[in-house]
Amino acid sequence: MSLMPKLLLRIYRVFLLAYPRTFRADCSHEMMETVRARHEDVRGRSGHFRMVRFWSRELTAVGKAGVRLRVARASRPSPSVRQLLAQCRYDLRFALRTLRHSAAFSSTAVLTIALGIGATTVIFSFVHAILLSPLPYEHPDRLVRINTMWFGGRGTSISEPEYYAFRTEARSLESVVATLSSSRTLLLDEPRRLTILQATHELFPVLGVAPLMGRMFNVQDESPGAAPVAIMSHWLWSEMFGEARTAVGTTINLDGRSVEVIGVMPPEFRFPTPEVALWTPYALDPANLDYWNNHYLRAYARLAEGVALETARVEVQAMGERFVSENQEYLSGFGFGTDLIRLFDDIVGGVRATLLVLLTAVGFLLLIGCSNVANLLLARGETRKQEIAVRAALGASRGRVMTQLLTESVVLALLGGLVGSVLAPLGVTALRTAALDTIPRVTEVAIDLRIVIFTSMITILTGLVFGLLPALTASRSDLNTHLKEFGRTSIGSRRSNLNRRVLVAIEVALSVILVIGAGVMLRSLGNLRRIDPGFRTEDVLTMRLSFPDAGAEVREPIAFYEQVLEEVRALPGVTGAGVVSRLPLSQGMGTASIQVEGRVVATIGEAPGSEVQQLTPGYIEAMDVTILEGRGITAADNADNRPVVLVHQAFATLHWPGESAIGRRIKLFAPRLPWLEIVGIVGDVRHNGLLAEPQPKLYIPHSQSGESAYGIAHTMNVVVHAESVERLAGPIRSIVSGVNSAVPVYRVQTMKEVKSAAMVGRTYPTLLLTVFGLLALFLASIGIYGLVVFQVNQGKHDIGIHMALGATRGHVRQMVVGKGLFPVILGIAVGLMGAFGLTRMLNSLLYEVSPLDLPVYLGVSTILLLVAATASLLPAVGATRLDPVEVLRSE
């Protein structure tokens, strides 16, 4: 038999899976034989068309018959089950009909449930993926990060000699990897800047991950002078090579050097962040390690088999103490130490508090939703007492009546769950896109079916419990009483009224807590927005340029940036342009040790530190950084003239309190570097985040940095101040590629975007909490409105009598609103107390506002009272329009 029929037969066999298993066991063999024989028949006497027709008919028939058999099997119940099913069908139809008739009630309930389930599912999906799922590496519980500590605070990076000591000596660590995040220019048709991670060869063994194809690094790759190699991320491989396996072994051009691609990682490997495009070996020369005080490596380790975290910490901490005692000249005086933290905590620690706050908030929202539905159901149960009594009188058993009522509540819950599960994926996608860079592991977030099921179960349970209450009371109560009441409305039973008020009070209390939480977060965000970063954020466009490192003459980058700036300044609308090495609020900056003239220090450990920026003329002006004293940088501050420096106000007051710093001399802590004269003092700029206090900082002219700093920066940020900056990106790109086509232009963003990106970690939780708070308010007002409407409806009789006896409209309004407001006030009181206890959770997320902020507490109470008053006023006004004669006559 040739290939084609064999394939067809195989497909046929797969199709047979449509049949129930028992049937397959019985007949599949025979069917295969038969279909084979028939295939031979058809082949023997007719052409291709017939053959196609034959197989399509055969395959379709299998599908159809299989499904029919399965359906027949599923719907062939025993008589009692059949009866039950018929009853269910009837109940279901009846429930749907009733719900359709009271569309307002049903849609409110369904919407309430949907919002609760949707929101809970979204947030829980995040919590599940980020906080509850183990990291996607082998034995993730054994993965740790090695940190350095400075004055007891958590530092981050370690130095080469420290890394080497951990790698060779730490017995509680199975293997240790050092990594360095950086970027390189990939030369394709146009240059492209890529994030790469340099790592020692232990990276993949430590994480327990193997490449999809190709090989991992080995020790030879990281030795100095080894041929450059790289392992490619799955996404870059797809983009560049269209997932062709031939990628392994080819070379790519990175920063002008040929680099061989030796492997490709699987798509789910995104260490440490999703944007990493390549992993390259970190060249480590054990014979020639860097200084002990240069801390720039991120180190991760795998605990040795069976070693507890605490045991390893003791060893690592002891090693840190040893480092200090053996390298006094570098490490003493900083409160230096080394410590371990679980990799999991390192990655998710920053968002845990936020996520837990949001989870609590949606939990509240779900509870509010549930009480709302319960309230609606209770109210409905009350109004349907007579209907139920009639049905009971006509012979319906109590069980039947209850099943009927419960079916309705469960149908409501299911519909709500359905709508909620449609909403949830939208919410997850929206939130994922919005917060992509700020939340770790966010690419792992997906809707978890279990969560949808879990939240739906909760609502179904609510439906059952609160549907059951009225069902029980209604079906138990005395038939006669209700029949007698038939035809006239009466005050609802005291107990169910109480239940409903308690539910409304609960709703209000939960809403108060939620809205207060949102309120203090909003206040905090407002305070954050008011922080002055020390530079202009409006009308400023920034973009990063990387001048190639390889083969460049020392002065080339200086000339390049000067040329670019000259042409940019000539663009229409541009009022200022400059270049700086590290963009504030975007690129972190470490400190370098410096020397102040006239102050002798024994070791580098005693030397003061400062952040170091390189800049060109025009930067200070374009960013509107204040010049407090002296002057800015000019074109004359070049390599031919004496080296100068600008310092921050914080720097000046730290070293020369009460005196002028102009004319003083400082230098970077290295013997060969010259003294730099301070020619200007500028206002403080917040660099490492809006909340980080401005650190001492010095600015060195880019054109002098070859002589006065450690080297000329090649990667710089162009900063342009102009009227309509959005239109400038294109022209500036053309300028750059005209000056040097090998220079990539990337991270094009306005300074405003940079600032909001720096706040996004605060903005989004606040936004979400506010949305949840508003939803809570909305749901609670529905609850209050519903309560008052039913109270009015059922109290018509009383109101009629009151009015007949001379009560004024104002009186009636007061009576109705008062009745509605009582549970609200109770709820507000309870809510305030709850908020008092719970908003402490927010403490770590707040900036310059107490979680017990009085204005917020008062404001929220007022808002709730207003909402409640409005919600109960509508039906109250309706009540005053009642004609007492009509009401009383109707009985």
């Binding site: 007949c27 025979e30 038969t34 055969e58 018959a65 299989g66 058999l69």
Partner: protein, 119 residues
């Protein structure tokens, strides 16, 4: 469900009737049934394997047909293919259905539904 009264199963689907007819004069395996029906109807009735086996499964459940026990099969037959035959009930049902159809046909003939006596 076992039924002893043939009339409760009437009318038969066309497929069921054809299968019963095919087995009326000989025991056959599935392929044989398909061939027989095809030949008798000049290829007008084509049965797909999947449909046939689903129908035969139902007919076995209704005790209209049964598998011929291995021991009573001629030894030269392919032992992997099962052969089917009519049960007593199957034959009764076939007879009953044929009678019903004949009656129907009689009415049609009486009413001169066909221009010429083609029956």
């Amino acid at each position: 469900m076992r039924t002893n009264d043939p009339s409760t199963l009437l009318p038969l689907t066309s497929l069921t009737y054809h299968v019963l007819l095919a087995l009326a004069d000989a025991n056959r395996h599935g392929y044989g049934i398909i061939k027989e029906v095809e030949e008798r109807t000049d290829g007008k009735m084509e049965i797909e394997t999947g449909t046939l086996y689903a129908a035969m499964k139902r007919m076995r459940d209704e005790h209209l047909i049964e598998v011929v026990p291995k021991s009573t099969r001629p030894s030269h037959e392919d032992s992997r293919r099962r052969t089917y035959r009519l049960t007593k009930l199957g034959r009764q049902v076939l007879t009953a259905e044929t009678k019903r159809l004949a009656q129907l046909l009689g009415i049609a003939v009486d009413k001169h539904v066909l221009p010429f006596a083609q029956v």
